[in-house]
Symmetry: C3
Subunit: 364 residues, 3 copies
């Protein structure tokens, strides 16, 4: 069950060469992508309307794509413009074309009704491609449903456990912090102080140095995580009564990361992530060290979530016990269920009950 | 859905040793084959009637085959002739035996009712084992339904695309030629002139040499392709008003190839093919070069068709758009559907609709 | 379909370290096992009640196990004793705990209702860990349903075929012997003389030496094979009129083997086996030689049974033809079906018919 009227990341801009075909499976659909001469990205159904051969085994001819099984040719609009052996091309002959927007170093594809494809719905990645930020990028394939990855990112208490030796820095600071959650139009804002936490080693501070960090992220449909982390001296959180830091309170270190999950199908997903460090306070080596830390940490998530998916797959009637930490993730699951329901015009309870493990409330 | 009352190629004669068991899966049936002392090939159900162990793990004892799990012994007729631990062998004890005929270097197995197994129904391969022809052989495993391979061989316009760099010789001659199709008892005859086409390099002609070739093949149930190719100087087709070449018009080069597709199951097939060159005009090196070219070309087909199968498998309700080039393949699909229907005594439309992607007509 | 109210072997005692988690899948259930400080083995459902992550990716904290996804902690009883982020732990929060008994070098787990877990139901392995026996151990993974392995061990006529070159010693003595079968509370006793059989080479006897051996085993639910083999001079069987050897008839060689099959799921099993030789007549080298022979022989069984399973899987309506040798195995299948039926309170015929290939009687 996917939300289709939505923009999904199909990859990093640098993954789309000037000349060549890129294939993706998105929401179960086979998609072939390429750049036109004007560098605009085209996304077509990767399935010829004639004998269902993949167009990605075809040949680019200018801005058009020819199927190399029996030679049908398609325009960037998806319309078939040549059928060898016959002069007539029926108007209905063609393949689906998906709206594409390239923005913030990501190629976004609209998987639903093209008429509803509003570029204003594209979430803005933080610092991507901006001169003031030292950017690094990564991606990771998941053998897991995308909602399990959403869940992971919506409950960062897992940093103290899954990432005890990496992002968690052997501290309970993340597990002990309680975020405040605010509803957004198509998502949530989740904010918190993480108090008296060790610093990443690549900051070059003494080993016993500590920080209070203000961690604020927006989590937007279908699975876009936009986190800004601002680091202050220890005591800053209490000094401000745990309220959001005043704008004039200058952090000594700022990190931003944008992450996007795109379902391949119900059991596989792909995860794109960035690291952006403020060029005023960080250097290239620190940027390398941070993305390397992210890679190791996200491999830890991957191992846990894929294992979780395997357990769910072998469990006849999976049930989950909701805890106090599950507030944000359950809120987002309900939001997604509602959006999918609105899209389908279907009954909400069917969507909510059919797809997910039953949930029992454990919090007092 | 398979046509069972039909002869299927189980392999090349040279693949069946005087002493030893050969296993095949044909139309979903496990089959074990071996030669008797008189060299006749026996084909038995590869599944002991006792505990369902494969007889192919058994032991040849003269012309009989003993299951090496608990020792039941079977005659070439499939009849069980010994059950250890009991003197009585019930009459019904046994495994299925399949009629076998070895002909034209191929071992043919009848997969249906033995009573209907008429050797006269075996298609005759072209030049196999005949002194006048320099023969080479090959085989290729397919992860695809056999009908997709039939389709491929019944629309040779694909030579200009799939095989642009091999059989197609960077020419549109194949795509531009329109064959004439004639019905046969259990198949089709497809004939055409391919005009002004480059020659294969191993003929040793100048690089710009061209030929008009008369390409005629019979395509017979369940999937046997028998192609004779006769090469004449350019202009020959027009000089004869595009009619079949007169018998006294001597070609400068003749090639024959026989090919047979045997379903392993609904999603896998095996493909046997030969190359035969006229010994009067060709030599051994040219025979080697031609089979090598075939291998490369058939690997190209294999990549395209397996990809096509994967697309079909992931498409919920596959639909195909019929073009002008699909005449022969659709005719053959209807023929096979009719034969299967007649065999089943089943409703024709059920067979035709249930198995295949829905087809829309695109030709004017 | 499994018998759950039963003890199953989860492994050899030496496979459970003092500090560390062991994972098993038993009867389809994911299980994590570990030793407490007092060395008692704990077996818990390997699936956190919160988000279904595997506890085997967790961390031992004293005798407790913490899930390393979001930090829930579980006692050896399965009860959840800590939920990070909330002070309240609901009484129902927890995972299933399985009764465990360590006995005779095996760790036994009760897979059914804990209230019925009676240690008196544990079969006693022969000679395991006893000073008078030189013991060797092994295990083997099977891609086959456990009942096919039961079948194998309940018809030892296969020694003359499957094991012709190993345990069968190129003799028909096993195939020609007819065992007598006696019912036990939860199993069968199967006894026979195997007459005038060659001896294993590691006994160091002349190559033409023969023996009459008294082979007696108990086969107990769910799949425990306890075989005592006593070797006498040839002629001993006839001298005693084929009756069980008198207690005062001293064998020149005694071997015991205990074997246990644990279903992983419907299509996979694990097989544990021992070899025990009487320390009075055998030495360490002979013990090594015998377990090595067992390994080779059990690999032969494995190849045959996995092949049998694959044949069954591809056979639409598998039917088996019962022979005179199938008495014991059919009796045990009926016993298991009855025990499962009693456990389910279900209809007996449903159990017996639904699961197994249909059986036709072949014996006169």
């Amino acid at each position: 069950m996917f939300l289709r009227n939505c923009w999904y990341v199909a990859g990093w801009s640098h993954q789309f060469p000037a000349d060549g075909l890129v294939t993706r499976t998105m929401l179960g659909d086979p998609v072939v992508l390429y750049r036109k001469a004007d560098r605009a990205v085209v996304a077509l159904e990767d399935r010829c309307c004639h004998r269902l051969a993949p167009l990605s085994l075809g040949r680019l001819e200018g801005d058009d794509l020819r199927c190399m099984y029996h030679g049908l040719k398609f325009a960037p609009s998806g319309k078939c413009i040549e059928i060898p052996g016959q002069s007539f091309v029926p108007g209905k002959a063609g393949v689906r074309a998906y709206p594409v927007v390239e923005r913030d170093c990501w190629v976004w594809v609209w998987m639903g009704d093209p008429a509803s494809a509003d570029p204003a719905l594209i979430p803005r990645a933080l610092g991507h491609g901006e001169a003031g930020w030292i950017m690094r990028t990564g991606e990771l394939a998941y053998k897991a449903n995308y909602e399990l990855i959403n869940d992971n990112l919506l409950d960062l208490s897992h940093l103290s456990y899954v990432h005890a030796k990496t992002l968690g820095r052997n501290s309970m600071a993340w597990a002990d912090s309680r975020p405040r959650t605010t509803s957004l139009a198509r998502g949530l804002r989740v904010e918190r102080w993480v108090v008296n936490n060790p610093l990443a080693p690549y900051l070059g501070r003494p080993a016993d140095a500590r920080t209070d960090s203000w961690q604020s992220y927006d989590y937007l449909a279908p699975g876009v995580f936009l986190l800004s982390s601002r680091f202050y001296p220890p005591g800053s959180a209490a000094a401000g009564d745990m309220a959001a830091p005043r704008p004039d309170l200058e952090p000594f270190w700022v990190s931003q990361t944008s992450q996007a999950i795109t379902p391949i199908d119900e059991k596989q997903s792909i995860y794109y992530f960035s690291s952006c460090l403020d060029r005023e306070s960080a250097n290239e080596e620190q940027a390398d060290a941070q993305i390397e830390l992210f890679r190791r940490a996200f491999d830890e998530d991957n191992a846990m979530i894929e294992a979780q998916q395997r357990v769910i797959d072998r469990t006849p009637r999976p049930r989950m016990l909701a805890t106090a930490s599950d507030g944000a993730l359950n809120q987002f699951r309900r939001l997604m269920a509602r959006l999918i329901e609105e899209e389908a015009g279907a009954d909400a309870s069917a969507v909510a009950n059919g797809q997910h493990p039953a949930i029992t409330q454990a919090s007092a």
